[in-house]
Each structure stands twice: as C-alpha cells, then as structure tokens.
Point group: C2
Chain length 149, copies 2
Amino acid sequence: MTPRLRDANAPARRAQRARWQSSVLAALKRDDHFRSAQQLHLDLHTTFATSIALTTVYRILRRLTTQQIVETQRAENDELLYRIRDDSGHHHYLLCRTCGRAERFAVEPFERRIDSFASAHGYADIDHRIDIYGTCAECHAGSSRPTKT
Amino acid sequence: MTPRLRDANAPARRAQRARWQSSVLAALKRDDHFRSAQQLHLDLHTTFATSIALTTVYRILRRLTTQQIVETQRAENDELLYRIRDDSGHHHYLLCRTCGRAERFAVEPFERRIDSFASAHGYADIDHRIDIYGTCAECHAGSSRPTKT
DNA sequence: TTTGGTGCAAAACCTTTGCATTAGG
DNA sequence: CCTAATGCAAAGGTTTTGCACCAAA
C-alpha cells in the first residue's frame, strides 16, 4: 500500500498547516501600515467575517515574524505592531501613532556613532531602539478640528 | 495670636507629606544608576530595613518624576527605570542592562534630522525614543566566565 | 475634623501558555 | 490513528486604582 510519500505531503501540510494563516495574511496585506494583533483580530471579525480567536492571531503573527514574513515595530504605548515585510533587513521608521503609516528613516550613520561611542566606553553587546512617532498629515487633518470652524 | 503663617507651615507639611519619600530618595541616591521600582522596593526592605509597600514606591516615584526630581528611562524589557535627576533637560543614554549604569549620549544633531524629516513628510507632534543598551565593562567582566577559569 | 499618605487586594493591559478538543491526512 | 492547529481560560508581569484605615495638624 505504498504509503504516501512524506515529502510529497509536505506542501499540502504546509498549506493546511494553519487554517487561519491565509486570512491573517490577507488582513495584513490590505496596506503596508503597522497594526496591532488586536486590530488585526478585529479586522478579521468585521471585514473578513472570520471567527478566529485572538490567541491564534498572536500565534500566527509570531510564526510569521520568525519566518521573516512580517516585521514588527513597537508602538508608543509599547504594543507590538505588525506588517508584511517588504524586503529583508532591519529598518527604523517614523510611525503615525494613529494609522500606523510608516516612513523609513535612515539611521546608519547614527548607528555607527552609537557603536563607536559604546565601544569607546567599554560596553559590549550593544543594541539600540530608535523609534519616531508622529501624526501623519492625513490623520492630523482629520482630528485637529476641536470645533467646526 | 498671630496664627502661624500658612506659608510657614508649607515646608513642614511638605516634609511630612510623604512619610516614605525620604527613604525612597535615600535609596535612589546610593548611586546614579537607573533602577526599577521593584529593585528599589527590594533595596528599601533589605538595605534600609523599611517595610514600605510596593504600591507606595510606585506612587512616590511617580510624584518625584512629575516634580522632575527623578528621571525615567525605559529598560530593554520595557520596565521603567528611575534615578535622581542631576540637571534639567531630557537626555538619552547608553544604559548597562545589568547594573543600570548610564552614559549620556549626545543626540542633538540626530534629533534635528528627525524633526526636519518628519515635517518634510507632513507629520506633526513628533516624538522619539532613542535608547542604547549594552553591558558595561564591569558587568561584562564579571559575567563572561561561563566556568571558572 | 480634615486632609492625604499608606497598604492590601484587585484591576488593567498585552501577550503567552496549559490543556482539552478537533481537523485533516 | 497521529500530528498539529485551535479555542478557551488562566497565568504572567509591571503598573495603576479602589477602598478602608490611619496619622498628622
């Protein structure tokens, strides 16, 4: 009874591995903004009419992050935000605290200064966190009207 | 009967205002390293033999921060760290993730770049987070011995 | 008495985890 | 049958908050 080849099943298994993963990816692919797990969970319920559990959203996002399919960014309130990764490498962003829109910000020269400063002071295992937060033009226009003019 | 001047009482009231505040300040003043509220609470119990509650430590630290007497810094694991403020103004530090030692790191030119970049992109209410973490020479020397030599 | 500092327990909040259930091959 | 995904509830960890109590003036 020639058992089905294990290797041949692999793609199928992978495709089926996470029933919800494709939905999460679809929600992420709506745009390139950073979103929290909870926002995604909400989107999946409303826009995508799925009944996925929040826990599963977290699990799938963690797996996708490990696989470098999504990248994460910390929000001002320390939540983790996720978005589809467009290329490889680690970047720093100017992030809209309202809509999650992100503008890549070059920091290489500054990072070099950090490293030389750190080694000059005898520090090892240097790591850094550079996050810029603001309100993008679109979000600012929408909310900066205390009363109707 | 010239009632005591209310203003004259102010210092006394202030001194008494927080029974534990002086202890917390004493614990902070042991050195200029950044410490978490929980570390301070532990110190107060052990070294200072006080029985202050953790909640109160948090409350006092929050008040001192508001009064600009202490400054805060976020640890790599997002805990809030506190230390006595030596001068006014906001600074960024290279922080030892083991002992809380901090080296001030000048970032003004970089901050200017951030602001111009942000306004060029139409973002408002810009804020940023620049934190550098490492292991200082002393801590590195102490812990980088997997087994006794 | 009045004000407000204090302690304890519980809540808040995001994220992870334990465990039993279920889906799919 | 067997593996792995899933859902639910609960835990984890830091910081805050509600509430009763107590201390000082």
